[in-house]
Amino acid sequence: MDRSEIAKLAQLARIEISSSTVDEVAKSIGDVLALVDQLQAADTEGVAPMAHPLDAVQTLRADVVSESDQRELFQSIAPAAEQGLYLVPKVIE
């Protein structure tokens, strides 16, 4: 992993990685990737890809409205709310 790849990952994950720690982070991720390489060397011919570690299937719920309005409660812990809306820093693409 080079510095530009780390910068791109940080951007995608919206986390800040200070320039003094970039090399350390690059090494840590590099170690993980080395482990992935080792895993990928295993012969998986004829093995179906696994979507979930549990050998079980999803149970489904009936289509019934079971939630009541708890807006007051939820918005009491929100940093900012107005007219029933959660307020966030302006984002327009």
């Binding site: 979930h52 409205v65 029933g84």
Partner: protein, 483 residues
Amino acid sequence: MEWETVIGLEVHVQLATNSKIFSGASTAYGAAPNTQACAIDLALPGTLPSPNEQAFRYAIMFGLAIDAEIGKRSVFERKNYFYPDLPKGYQTTQLESPIVGRGHVEILLADGSSKSIRIHHAHLEEDAGKSLHEDFHGMSGIDLNRAGTPLIEIVSEPDMRNSAEAVAFARKLHSIVTSLGICDGEMSQGSMRFDVNVSVRPKGSEEFGTRTETKNLNSFKFMEEAIALEVERQIELIEDGGKVIQETRLYNGDTRTARSMRSKEEANDYRYFPCPDLLPVVFEDDYIDSIRQQLPELPDARQQRFMDSYKLSAYDADILSADADTARFFEATVAACQDAKLAANWVMGEVSAHLNNDEKSIRDCPVSAEHLAGLINRIKDNTISNKIAKQVFESMWQGECDADTIIEAKGLKQMSDSGELEKIVADVIAANPAMVEDWLAADESKRKKKMGGFMGPIMKATKGQANPGLANQILSKKLNALL
């Protein structure tokens, strides 16, 4: 150079479930902001998704309707991106193993021929919330009521070659999902939204040109306009020596312009991976078969039935059968008046025109099928002429009860008393000697047409109430007597 347009569609369809795809919050449209956004929809820590069976059932119904293979084992994936209307930081969707596989949809073209549009797949996913960018002290307002509403995203192959085909395909999808009852079809409320992929290539070329994607079109009209605009832009660009860039564009229906959605960030990288919170969803053949057996009548079958049992043309049958509510209204009208031809003309004519004009859907039609049939019955038994019928219909539209009451109250009954009509016709002939001379001097072949000229004054004298057939008969007799 002659250019060929290539169009593919991605269509988001909101499923008409009561509750959300992963939570028990209501999906009802129009509620006060965030009153239908529960802890799961808000992605509060510790919450887990609880999938709604009905969303799967609806998606399978769609798959069966387009003759697609059903994903018996479907898997959810996380599509990661940051936006305030997506509190989890990822959209739960499907990528590798969608619920609906390859299928096809038949569309009717203007020349009467049909064309098959291939569906690549359709997958289940959750809708996002809504951002309101009006100014809240420099901040954006977020309403998460829509977050978690179940969607199927239908992805077509690039099989359409002009905007008319794309619109026909979009209308057909609308017709299928409303007939199935899996979507309310209310486009103005965002129940169906279209992303259009457009490219151009020299006619005869096998290779595709670079495509652009115009996102979030919510009406057939906007879709048609956006495609026309984009095709023109791409051709001009290439003919001027430029190159089309693969990009996402936004169309503004009010200004009829489009712009590139420039993103300062690098190209999207969604880093899909299987969602660890959800197990694979598995359906047995029995389950799918039981859904197949309960499928309601589909638009193609209904169109054929309308042609067979009501003797309608393919075109009329297509229009009347496309929308399930319109089809129901038409059939209820026919049942009550026993005249399919007149019922078809009225539903496609006055009813449709009035609905368009008032921007109403047939479900909110102020004139019921029974009342329309009552009006048609009075045309059939010659109580009123077609012209007067339109006047009566107008009154019915304004909320004035049934046809019989209106005809009675306003004295609109057709004048079918031959004695009374004889006198009026005689008066009209006497009052228009020039027209009579003209008629006498005309060729035999032109007399019939010229005779029509007398009908205006006759209708005027009877306030439009003369029985046209009878008046014509009397007029013909009287004029011929002058020869």
